[in-house]
């Protein structure tokens, strides 16, 4: 399998001398093409910091991050912009849709920036909207659709550029459980049908159970890794157990 993301000895420190906080501590892992990886951990474990550091948003203190073989930490200015546009897709907790554009235009926005021919745009639009089940909403405005649909629009926007990897930061955080389940099903479709590589940060075990593999982070370091082997139900139970372990209690390690 082709390695899409390689993270080596990544550390992040905030603050100065006396009150230094080590948010990430020597993290190394890699993600293969077509994987659906989850990052879990308690609040303050450094999940979002890690995601920001590996998705070109912030600069880590030390370490290397390679996406598709390119060292993203050495990039500057427009190189980063081009890289984000062509290789990365983002899904955020609060959707971040343009209120002034309708659904179709929101999804097409990244392609328009890339000056893609109209015919190709339409083709891709049909494809992603059918995968995500929003092909009936194209002329609606964001404030006229449900939260679940909003997040699917955001997912479509991330997917339409055919990115090497999609970063999702708590995508179900603002959704009710039904919409969340729907969204995750659609994201699984993206992962299976389009072979999209997805990296998702969440603190919700149910959400995480849709992944193939989950990295658990505690106090800025990788605590353990759980890989899905059997059914989702069984995977879910293992995630719960692991979470309990990290939390310091639970069924496995007794009081």
């Amino acid at each position: 399998m082709k390695k899409i993301l390689e993270v080596n000895h990544l550390s992040q420190t905030y603050g100065y001398r006396s009150n230094k906080v080590q948010v990430l501590n020597n993290i190394s892992f890699s993600v293969d093409q077509g994987e659906f990886v989850g990052i879990m951990g308690p609040s303050g474990a450094g999940k979002s910091t890690l995601l920001n550091a590996i998705s070109t948003i912030t600069l880590p203190t030390t370490g290397t991050v390679r996406i598709d073989g390119q060292d993203i930490l050495k990039m500057r200015g427009n190189q980063i912009s081009d890289f984000r546009r062509k290789k990365l897709g983002f899904i955020f907790q609060n959707f971040n849709l343009m209120e002034t554009l309708n659904v179709k235009d929101n999804i097409l926005l990244p392609l328009a920036v890339d000056r893609m021919p109209l015919a190709e745009m339409e083709k891709r639009l049909m494809h992603v909207t059918s995968i995500l089940g929003i092909d009936q909403l194209l002329t609606d405005y964001p404030n006229a659709i449900s939260v679940g649909q909003k997040q699917r629009v955001a997912a479509a926007r991330a997917l339409i550029t055919k990115p090497t990897i999609i970063f999702a930061d708590e995508p179900t955080g603002s959704l009710d459980s039904k919409s969340a389940a729907e969204l995750l099903q659609y994201m699984t479709n993206m992962n299976l049908q389009d072979d999209a590589t997805i990296m998702m940060v969440t603190h919700d075990p149910y959400t995480a159970s849709y992944c193939n593999r989950i990295l658990f982070i505690k106090d800025g370091a990788i605590f353990s890794e759980v890989v899905r082997q059997g059914s989702r139900k069984e995977f879910f139970n293992r995630v719960i157990d692991m979470q309990a372990t990290i939390g310091g209690g639970g069924r496995v390690n007794d009081f």
Binding site: N96, P110, A112
Partner: protein
């Protein structure tokens, strides 16, 4: 505890407070400067003898207060918007709304007091600058000091306290409306149905452009339009109604333009798919639609305000040149003196040291009756019977040597005359003479030309029209009376002292009355002009037939005329420019503050663009594009409106002073360009996060 919290907040949001503080200080400085000039005894004392400077200043003061109030409201709105979270927090910890309002009130008072003190100190420094400019505009030799005026400090404080109270009331009202939920969840923006364009709004959009165009066409043809109105039921009032009607049409058109036309244009631009899906065009167009919905009304008012401010400067400029030109009309040479007082005046002048009379010309006028046609506007055709002054061509040419404003006159025939008409000086094109003048004894004269009158104060010539004719014809006129005026120039060291001394020893007064009575009978002009009354007893009733009496002014002095006009017009133009430029600066500031509020709201959107991989340059381009929609349409339409308004002025009043108005238009463009670039740069820095 609460004040402690508030103090912490202050430290955290220092920059916001600074912006607010600077805005308020600016308001105080402007007001103080204005009021300091009103109370500047040094300056006004010299003027007061001649002009009521206070009247103009008070009116200006009211306008300044209105403008500053508008500006402070905008600044306060921006400030509160930035502190929405803080208000929500106070409510969340259980503070009552009265308490929050009180807290904000105390804060406003403290901040206001600080900016009042800073403003007054800066005002004292700047008012020196302003009074220097004013003295320059009025051609006064005044030593301007750092003038600390207690009354104007009090006035500024009172006015500012009043403005702060108004602002505080408004912010209390906003706090009362504020819901805690605003803090927790973002307000749902009302952007429904922004895609649809109803038939009505298409019609209104087109109507907006049409109205503006009609306004422009009417103002281009203002004279025919005014004449047309005069022919209708309005009568002579049509003359005044015409500009008001044009102004109203343009104002309505402007409102519709910003509310509907711009929206329509954006909508149509979005129709082209290949253009729409290029770069950030769709985002630019989508944002613009929402912008126009939100700020359309503000923009239309700003535009109208700009146009009025520029028009006002244009009007003031034309009045200024008329005023200055009137000196050349009424006193083309240093002195013009009636024969009777010539001796007295020359004695006074010769008594002064270092003063001598340079060149002197005696003007021999004849005053006799005439009958002629007069056309006012394009309507009334009047048959006039009145005395006219007659000057011979050789005498005119002699006067021309010492009077630089007189143009060369050539007469081809003996009967040809040239009318010198004072109305021609100002209201060109509104008065037309018939081609014939009939004098007593059957003398018939042909009008060959009508010229502006630069022969000096009309009152010296009994306020009658003057014609120039050939020497032969002049000698043949024996009816009426003749009189002499002496025109001369002097060289003097201190003209002011001379003028003062002269006005003390020879008082300006009415002298040498004449009496006349003319009638048009059997195609003949009958009647007389005489220096003694020929009617035994005066009729109580005034009728065409009865004898009329006119008096003559004894002399004019160029220096006193000139200093009067300079002071009056200098003050006038200064106040107009001050207010006009202030209006431009304040509207620009209001738009700028509005854009900053916008930047705060839109920060997240721009952040998304960055994460989506839109290059920084593209985002910056988008920011500049969005700001250009806010700044350029008001600028362009405002300048166009003003240009046409000045054109209308120039049709009504001939003046060469319109360059000042066009200069102000240029100034507007400069000020707005500066605001545009400044706003865009700050906007960019607000939306650029710290992230890569």
């Amino acid at each position: 505890m609460i004040f402690n919290l508030s103090w912490k907040n202050f430290k955290g949001q220092f920059l916001n407070y600074l912006v607010y503080f600077v805005s308020m200080t600016f308001a105080v400085v402007v007001y103080y400067c204005f009021s300091a000039i009103t109370y500047n005894r040094n300056l006004t004392n010299r003027v007061e003898q001649e002009i009521h400077i206070d009247g103009a200043m008070n009116l200006g003061g009211i306008l300044v207060v209105i403008m500053i109030l508008g500006f402070m409201f905008a600044a306060n709105h921006f400030f509160l918007l930035k502190r929405g979270k803080e208000i929500g927090l106070y409510q969340l910890i259980g503070m009552r709304k009265e308490q929050i309002s009180f807290l904000f009130f105390i804060e406003t008072v403290i901040l206001g007091a600080l900016s009042l003190i800073t403003g007054i100190i800066l005002g004292i420094i700047f008012s020196k600058l302003f009074s220097m400019i004013l003295a320059k505009a009025m051609f006064l030799q005044v030593e301007s000091l750092f003038y600390i005026s207690i009354p104007s400090m009090i006035q500024t404080s009172i006015a500012f306290a009043f403005m702060l109270l108004a602002v505080s009331l408004r912010s209390s009202w906003l706090i009362y409306r504020y819901q805690v939920s605003d803090l927790l969840s973002k307000k749902r923006k009302k952007t429904a149905e922004i895609d649809k364009v109803s038939t009505l709004s298409i019609c209104l959009g087109i109507l907006g452009v049409v109205l503006i165009l009609i306004g422009y066409i009417l103002s281009y043809n203002v004279i025919p339009f005014a004449t047309f109105l005069m022919r209708t039921a309005f009568g002579f009032a049509g003359f005044l109604i015409a500009p008001i009607a044009i102004m109203f049409i343009c104002m309505l058109g402007t409102y519709l333009f910003f509310k509907y036309t711009m929206y329509l244009v954006v909508y149509l631009l979005g129709k082209s798919k290949s253009n729409y899906y290029r770069n950030l065009n769709m985002l630019a167009l989508g944002n613009t639609k929402v912008h126009i919905k939100r700020v359309g009304t503000t923009l239309s008012f700003v535009t109208i305000f700009i146009a009025i401010a520029l028009g006002m400067i244009g009007g003031a400029a034309s009045l200024y040149t008329i005023g200055m030109n009137s000196v050349n009309i009424t006193a083309p040479t240093d002195f013009i003196v009636a024969e009777m007082d010539f001796k007295k005046v020359t004695q006074v002048i010769e008594k002064e040291p270092d003063t001598s009379i340079n060149s002197s010309v005696t003007l021999n006028y004849k005053l006799t009756g005439s009958q002629f046609h007069l056309k006012i506007g394009q309507e009334v055709n009047e048959n006039n019977v009145s005395p006219i002054n007659i000057l011979s061509l050789s005498n005119y040419r002699e006067f021309q040597k010492i009077n630089p404003y007189l143009k060369t006159i050539d007469l081809a025939n003996k009967q040809d005359i040239v009318i010198l008409d004072s109305i021609q000086n100002i209201l060109g094109g509104f008065i037309q003479y018939g081609s014939e003048f009939l004098l007593p004894d059957g003398i018939k004269l042909n009008v060959s030309d009508v010229r502006p009158d630069y022969l000096g104060q009309e009152l010296l010539r009994y306020n009658f029209p003057t014609v120039v004719l050939s020497d032969e014809q002049f000698d043949e006129i024996h009816s009426g009376i003749s009189y002499k005026l002496m025109a001369f120039n002097i060289t003097a060291k201190d003209e002011e002292a001379l003028a003062n001394k002269l006005s003390e020893s020879v008082k300006p007064k009415w002298i040498s009355p004449i009496f006349y009575q003319y009638q048009w009978r059997d195609n003949q002009l009958e009647g007389y002009t005489s220096s003694t009354s020929q009617q035994a007893e005066k009729d109580q009733e005034f009728s065409e037939e009865s004898e009329q009496e006119y008096w003559q002014l004894n002399y004019t002095s160029r220096f006193s005329e000139l200093s009067y006009e300079r002071r009056e017009m200098g003050l006038f133009i200064y106040v107009a420019m001050f207010l006009g430029v202030l209006a431009l600066i304040i509207t620009g500031s209001i738009l700028m503050l509005q854009q900053f509020s916008e930047a705060e709201r839109e920060k997240e959107r721009y952040d998304l663009l960055k994460k989506m991989g839109v290059p920084k340059q593209e985002i910056t381009k988008l920011v500049y594009q969005q700001n250009s929609i806010i700044f350029f349409p008001p600028m362009i339409i405002g300048v166009l409106h003003a240009a046409f308004a000045i054109y209308v002025f120039s049709k009504f009043i001939t003046s060469s002073g319109y360059w000042l108005a066009y200069l102000s238009c240029g100034l507007l463009i400069l000020i707005y360009l500066a605001y545009y670039f400044l706003t865009s740069a700050i906007y960019s820095s607000i939306i650029q996060g710290k992230d890569r």
